[in-house]
């Protein structure tokens, strides 16, 4: 049975009133490795049927992976009971389910070879990564994963949507006996984007060859590689562009839309059709995905909404629902693209820096003050000192505590080349996402430990 057919079956079990059935099916493989040996290999074939029921503006939802008529009916009854119980407390703020939109944007986010889930692809990639790492005198650590996700929506208001996407991702950490490490990663819609030998070579090239120096707390000019920029932008997406938080006055752009919040060279958008992103045709409410400018020439432009947060803000949804019926966590852009600049490469970014920091990636980032976009985290897998315009010697990983918007405000230059970066951290049902961004140079990166 296809996901579309299952969504129709689930909808058929729903009684009167507004209802939406969403089916998300995941088929995936993920192979882990450590010390140049395979460690875990996981194959998943599962699905989720989400039933959303609206009663007097209140939403109730139920999820199941059981697909008998009885189970689907039971899911509806739980969702309906939830909506009725909520409605008993008073009318809710859901504006109602949307009708059938026009055509969804087409994309090329599905690849046959990736969807085949051939386990020998991962086996071969791991073997090449191991060999490359060994040739450089290191051990390899990482994952190789590919998957296919099918999403189908059917609603009582006539909306029908179906999307089939694939994703592939590989990361390689090369590590020496002293624990010094380097990083390389790539991802995309197709396994063809993954070159295990190239990634292992990149990772090996970032491994420090000498004992790292200590760098004390202070503010430093910094070159952030795309891996680091992407991670910071993911957090910015939650803290600044969530329309629900914005409407409630909690967002970082509260009172700042239309004002300059970043350097004029910063142009950030949610661009689900941009080359090298993992494209999506619609959001969790079946609203077509369209480009959304977030920061233009350094000026805060828009935030993202789903149906409920848009109603709260007195505006229209932008197609950024992350859950059917809208998430209590808000509406989030998931296809961020930061425009590139004019620098040829990271070496050119480093050239004007007398003494500063080169950061490959950041790790364990968490907000300290959401409204200030103040984050803390550490650097990892390739942190170096920049001296007299050149990356010279490794420094021990540092803790930073800094505001993403402050970093973007002091950004002086960006590379022209962009890279798709992702953490491929699949909790729950697989939803592959990432950021397309360049490397950048900024002033005053705040090292706190």
């Amino acid at each position: 049975m296809t996901s579309t057919e299952l969504a129709e079956r689930a909808l058929a079990q729903c009684g009167d009133g507004e209802a939406q059935a969403t089916v998300t099916r995941e088929r995936s493989l993920l192979s882990r490795f450590a010390r140049s040996r395979p460690t875990q290999a996981t194959a998943v074939d599962d699905l989720t049927v989400n039933v959303l029921v609206l009663r007097d503006g209140q939403a109730g939802t139920a999820e199941t992976n059981l697909t008998s008529d009885d189970a689907l009916r039971a899911a509806y009854e739980r969702a309906d009971a939830a909506a009725r119980a909520a409605a008993a407390s008073g009318p809710g703020d859901h504006p109602g389910l949307p009708g059938a939109p026009g055509a969804y944007p087409a994309h090329d986010g599905w690849d046959e070879a990736t969807a085949a889930l051939d386990p020998t692809l991962a086996g071969g990639a791991l073997a090449r990564a191991f060999a490359t790492a060994e040739a450089h005198g290191f051990e390899a650590f990482g994952i190789y994963t590919n998957g296919e996700v099918e999403t189908a929506i059917a609603s009582s208001t006539g909306l029908r949507a179906r999307e089939l996407v694939t994703d592939a991702y590989m990361k390689v950490i090369c590590r020496d006996d002293a624990g010094r490490s380097g990083w390389g990663a790539a991802g995309g819609s197709a396994v063809a984007a993954l070159d295990a030998e190239a990634l292992a070579t990149e990772a090996a090239g970032r491994v420090p060859r000498e004992e790292p120096a200590e760098l004390g707390p202070g503010e430093y000019p910094v070159v952030l590689e795309p891996y680091a920029v992407g991670e910071l932008l993911v957090y910015l997406s939650w803290l600044a562009f969530d329309g629900l938080a914005h409407a409630e006055g909690r967002g970082a752009l509260d009172g700042k839309l239309g004002t300059r919040i970043a350097a004029p060279s910063i142009n950030l958008a949610d661009a689900p059709g941009f080359t090298a992103t993992l494209p999506h045709a619609f959001d969790a409410e079946g609203i077509p995905k369209r480009p959304l400018p977030l920061i233009q020439d350094g000026v805060a432009h828009r935030v993202a909404y789903d149906l409920r947060s848009a109603k709260l803000a007195g505006t229209e949804t932008t197609g950024h629902a992350i859950e059917p019926g809208g998430s209590p966590h808000g509406a989030i852009p998931t296809n961020l693209v930061l425009a590139g600049g004019g620098a040829a490469d990271s070496a050119e970014l480093a050239a004007p820096i007398e003494r500063g920091l080169y950061v490959t990636r950041v790790w364990y980032v968490n907000p300290v003050h959401a409204k200030q976009t103040l984050l803390t985290g550490t650097t990892r897998d390739g942190t170096y000192l920049i001296e007299d315009g050149e990356v010279t010697r490794p420094v021990r990983d540092v803790r930073f505590t800094d505001s993403v918007l402050r970093i973007l405000d002091t950004t002086e230059a960006l590379t022209s080349a962009q890279k798709f970066v992702s953490d491929a951290d699949f909790y729950g049902r697989r939803f592959a996402h990432g950021v397309v961004c360049p490397a950048l140079r900024a002033q005053g990166f705040r090292v706190t430990g």
């Binding site: 199941t64 992976n65 909520a86 008993a88 409630e248 980032v365 951290d425």
Partner: protein, 480 residues
């Protein structure tokens, strides 16, 4: 649920691999929350499936399916074998003993079935708790939520295990968010990040007395908007039990996961500053530091009859009087350092994830410092902090930085004025070395964490930590 189907599957796996195990897991959940006087969310979830793990040589293969028929289970076994064989060959390594094969049934505590409490009653309880936080225009968000989860598992292995388990989890909390003059402040009770969940029934939520704490939460959220910022410096730090629990989790629990120590998690969660050779000799902290991994703690989210490799739940001292004694291990990692038996810490998130080394209930044992009031009274000057707001620790679990929701100055043995944005940082063994007092058993309680992330694909694990308020000397504060 019975293990019969899984036992039949294991009989079919015999001969095609060195070892196999299968778990059938059924999970039911219900969450409800209210926000600003309205229902925010009411959701229900149900899933069921089978996960099959096989070992060929030194490699593993794991496949999960939602098809719980015999044919579905056999297909998952075939896929697990196929992906294990498709990987680069790894030399065979032994597995530590699982002990006596797991047999029988285990069930966690649950006095009042939370799924039998009507939705109307649950929402009414939440509204009663949320309402007292409203009424001040600076408070833009007043939230109360509760959740219930029941997990039913069956397990069988080619070594003769065949057991079933049922765990019920229930809990919740309240939160107020105040905004003013560009500042945003949060206060939560009893725990931040969604409240306090325990292995228990609805009675646990009732015992939290959310309604009774709501006025204080509102008042503190508003007061924090204009409270002075926590000053930077070095001082004596008294930490509330909830934050101590997270401190234990991040800087002891994760650091002592043996797969991390052996570099098995280097690609994601990271490694550890602890080495396998440190067992029995590493001074992890002061003599006041006694930490136990206890899968038998009543009410703990990390309590079970058997772990997900069929190893019986047990109580293991990890740190005694500051000295490292043991790590958290599963069968593979225990064997890798020459241990005969697994530490019983293999846990999986649902049927579609394979078991990896996880915490059980990693508890800071109580001390003899009396009540929190006694501890404050015995502290001349310092800072008292409550409820986690932000956490970050490096990939070796060596250097950390935490921020809390609220701080209070300590002067002359008394709590003084409120301070906002309190934070502290440290180096793990130095920080625990500065521990000079832990409150007595009367202050000790479990704190549940529902969002412990590890593994690829990602696994979210529920764990508890027993903790009591504790005092640390010479801590760097005001770092953020």
């Amino acid at each position: 649920m019975t293990p019969d189907l899984l036992q039949e599957l294991m009989a079919k796996a015999e001969g095609s691999c060195a070892y196999a195990e299968a778990r059938q897991v059924h999970t039911r959940s219900e969450d409800a929350s209210v926000l600003n006087g309205s229902v925010e969310e009411v959701t229900a979830g149900e899933s069921e499936g089978i996960g099959v793990r096989v070992r060929i040589g030194g490699g593993w293969g794991f496949a999960a399916t939602r098809d719980v028929s015999a044919a579905g289970a056999e297909e998952a076994l075939a896929r697990a074998l196929a992906i294990a064989e498709a990987q680069p060959a790894a030399p065979a390594t032994p597995l530590a003993s699982a002990g006596e094969p797991a047999r029988g049934h285990w069930e966690g505590p649950c006095e009042q079935d939370p799924f039998a409490v009507s939705l109307d009653a649950r929402l009414a309880h939440l509204f009663e708790a949320e309402e007292p936080m409203r009424g001040d225009e600076r408070v833009v968000r007043t939230w109360a939520g509760c959740r219930a989860i029941r997990t039913t598992k069956a397990f069988a292995s080619t070594e003769g295990a065949a057991c079933t388990q049922v765990l019920t989890e229930c809990g919740g909390g309240i939160q107020a968010v105040a905004v003013g003059d560009g500042e945003l402040q949060i206060r939560s009770y009893p725990s931040s990040h969604g409240g306090h969940v325990a292995a228990a029934g609805w009675e646990h939520l009732l015992e939290l007395d959310l309604k009774g704490q709501a006025p204080r939460i509102r008042e503190e959220a508003v007061a924090l908007l204009t409270a002075p910022v926590c000053s930077a410096g070095t001082t004596t730090l008294v930490i509330h039990g909830e934050q101590v629990a997270l401190q234990v989790h991040e800087s002891i629990g994760h650091a002592l996961e043996l797969d991390r120590i052996l570099l098995g998690e280097a690609s994601y969660a990271g490694t550890s500053f602890v080495g396998a050779a440190d067992l029995g000799s590493l001074r992890y902290g002061s003599e006041h530091l006694n930490v136990t991994a206890d899968a038998t703690t009543p009410g703990g989210l990390g309590s079970f009859g058997w772990d997900d490799e069929g190893v019986a739940g047990r109580r293991t001292p990890l740190i005694e009087q500051g000295v490292l004694r043991a790590t958290l291990s599963n069968r593979e990692s225990a064997a890798a350092i020459g241990l005969e038996a697994s530490g019983g810490c293999a846990r999986a998130d649902g049927f579609a994830r394979q078991p990896i080394v996880r915490m059980t209930n990693v508890n800071l044992e109580p001390g003899d410092a009396g009540s929190l009031a006694d501890l404050i009274a015995a502290t001349d000057e310092g800072l008292y902090v409550e409820n986690n707001r932000s956490w970050s620790i490096n990939d070796r679990r060596w250097q950390f930085q935490f921020a809390c929701e609220v701080g209070r100055e300590i002067r002359g043995g008394e709590l003084g004025r409120l301070v906002r944005n309190p934070s502290y940082a440290g180096i793990t063994p130095r920080f625990w070395g500065s521990l000079d007092a832990v409150c007595s058993p009367s202050e000790w309680q479990l704190y549940g964490l529902m969002n412990c992330g590890k593994g690829e694909p990602g696994q979210g694990m529920h764990v508890s930590h027993g903790a009591a308020p504790a005092r640390f000397r010479g801590v760097q504060v005001g770092v953020a």
